[in-house]
């Protein structure tokens, strides 16, 4: 996939001396959903804000579909829609007027059909004539998305789209993102919910202290760094591990009802076959077995801790 956004050695030092971005380089591929994961203050919002034109970079460059965001800002910005983290809307404005305004601001001719489609897609059509201050928090957030989509951008930046949003709305948001991806929109979202990146991203970038620690295909990342656990439920509880099993990385849990075996999926051998035969040799009868993969969260915490220790 060709890159639609190319970030090259981007630097941002604020006037107070705070260095928010330290040489960030990143290729965003056309049509992908990229999740930027990082703790608070990692530089996620600064990175997005710089690409979108809200913050001036102090070094490096960004190209959007080949257009430099400074020298060719009109063409670059015309391709981008931005959904900010905070709910920032003119409270007295009507929903539909607010969305029309956004389209006009980007220099697009009136297109009521597109506005209707966008509002319907976000379940806002029935509320089109409501004043924004009359809407619930979740609806306001969708108005922000509708505004960002009003000018038919090819790239959509969502800054913490589900921060402080309840579970049901979060799932709704994920469906919206999936729908947009199907329409061919490239989506970059920041989040500190690992669950969110896991659910909707194609690739995950981890950012901490203004640096990109890694950008990788989500599945590859999880496979590469993932540790798997095998949970073995026992027919009869045991009080301690039989001697013959001490060479395996086993842990006795649930008062002796189950064993947890941790192994690395990237290793040449997982050791499961031997474990199972050793178990039967020790006369342990199994009731059930299940495997689980470590989540992105564990991977992420590990990475950030490594970075902090360095």
């Amino acid at each position: 996939m060709p890159a639609i956004v190319t970030v090259d050695s981007l630097e941002k030092t604020y006037a107070d001396g705070f260095k928010a971005l330290s040489g960030v380089s990143l290729d965003i591929e056309q049509g992908e959903v990229l999740a930027l994961l990082g703790p608070n203050g990692a530089g996620k919002t600064t990175l997005i804000s710089t690409i979108c034109g809200l913050v001036q970079a102090t070094g490096g460059s960004v190209r959007v579909d080949g257009h430099d965001i400074v020298t060719d800002y009109r063409k670059a910005r015309a391709l981008i829609g931005l959904v900010p983290q905070e709910i920032t809307l003119e409270p007295f404005d009507k929903v539909i007027n607010s969305v029309r305004f956004s389209r006009g601001l980007f220099g697009k001719p009136r297109d009521e059909a597109h506005i209707e489609k966008t509002l319907r897609q976000l379940s806002l059509w029935d509320k089109r004539n409501s004043r924004i201050m009359e809407l619930s928090g979740g609806m306001k957030r969708r108005v922000l998305i509708a505004k960002a989509l009003a000018h038919e951008p090819r790239i959509l930046f969502l800054d913490e789209p589900t921060a402080g949003v309840d579970v049901e709305l979060r799932r709704g948001m994920w469906e919206t993102v999936a729908g947009l991806k199907n329409d061919g929109v490239t989506i970059i979202l920041t989040t500190h919910y690992i669950e969110e990146a896991e659910a909707i991203a194609d690739r995950v970038g981890v950012i901490s202290k203004g640096r990109i620690l890694l950008v990788e295909d989500k599945d590859t990342l999880m496979n590469r760094m993932g540790r798997k656990q095998l949970r073995i439920e026992l027919h009869e509880p045991v009080s301690e591990l039989p001697d013959g099993l001490s060479e395996h990385d086993l842990e006795l849990v649930d008062g002796g009802d189950a064993l947890i075996y941790t192994y690395d999926t990237t290793g040449a051998r997982t050791g499961i076959t031997r474990l199972l035969s050793d178990l039967s040799e020790a006369g342990i009868v199994l009731r059930d077995i299940q495997t689980s993969q470590s989540s992105l969260e564990e991977i992420f915490v590990g990475l950030v801790q490594e970075e902090n220790a360095a």
Partner: protein, 256 residues
């Protein structure tokens, strides 16, 4: 001018005007009432005891000054609020991430603020004509002064709105600088009525030139030569334009 994002300009302009219409009562009725009060107090009550000023009845003499007073304060408050409010509630992000340049933003915001103040200025002149006999000797010049004042003070207000970091600051410049300058700028008197020292000091007040030129358009009497009035408003307009250009170039108070 082909390259300008005119739709963007129109979107901002419409948005700003819609706020004006939404608060029509405030925008329209309050200047009418305050002007009427000025006429009752200065025109009828006090004015009836004052002789003609430079051959013009006192009530008629203060009309251009009153119009200027309202137009300037309205242009400043509308434009400063127009750009300050998005900064305050955060909706400015949309403006900064849109493919619009400083000229388009200024055309939208300043154009709308100038339109509103022009509208209110016209309303005041119509209201005034109900109270006093007035004439306009040089209509074209009158229109030019009115327009230039609306635009340049809207620009000035726009700068204040970008500069202001809270609501107090937003009120500070109009209250502490503009209102005194306008009141001491000959809105209600002719400069020639002042003692010589004050006449000299007054010459440093830029508003004197504007009111003088505007009044000349009505009655043909002026405190300063009409050319210097035009130069003064031109200079002020140029300074404001330069400041706005610099603000957007540097990102001052807008783009960290």
């Amino acid at each position: 001018m082909m390259g300008l994002n005119w739709r963007g300009v129109a979107a901002i302009y419409r948005f700003e005007m819609s706020r004006f219409f939404r608060t029509l009562l405030q925008s329209f009725v309050s200047p009418v009432i305050s002007t009427s009060l000025y006429f009752v107090v200065f025109g009828a009550a006090i004015g009836s005891r004052i002789d003609e000023v430079e051959g013009v009845s006192y009530g008629a003499f203060i009309v251009p000054g009153l119009v200027m007073l309202t137009v300037m304060t309205q242009a400043i408050s509308n434009a400063s609020f127009g750009i300050y409010f998005p900064k305050f509630i955060g909706t400015i992000y949309e403006l900064l991430s849109a493919p619009v340049n400083f000229l388009e933003i200024v055309l939208g915001y300043v154009g709308a603020a100038a339109t509103k103040s022009l509208f209110i200025g016209t309303v005041i002149m119509v209201t005034a004509s109900l109270f006093v006999d007035m004439q306009v000797l040089h209509p074209l010049s009158m229109l030019a002064f009115l327009l230039l004042t609306c635009v340049s003070f809207a620009l000035f207000g726009f700068i204040i709105g970008i500069w202001a970091e809270n609501f107090e600051q937003l009120q500070l410049v109009p209250l502490l600088i503009v209102t005194p300058l306008v009141f001491l700028g000959g809105s209600f008197y002719s400069i020639s009525m002042l003692p010589p020292v004050w006449q000299w000091i007054t010459m440093f007040n830029p508003v004197v030139y504007l009111i003088s030129g505007f009044r000349w358009s009505f009655y043909g009497v002026a405190d300063v030569p009409i050319v210097s009035s035009l130069l003064a408003i031109g200079l002020f307009l140029g300074l404001c334009l330069g400041a706005v250009w610099w603000i957007f170039r540097s990102g001052w108070r807008l783009r960290p």
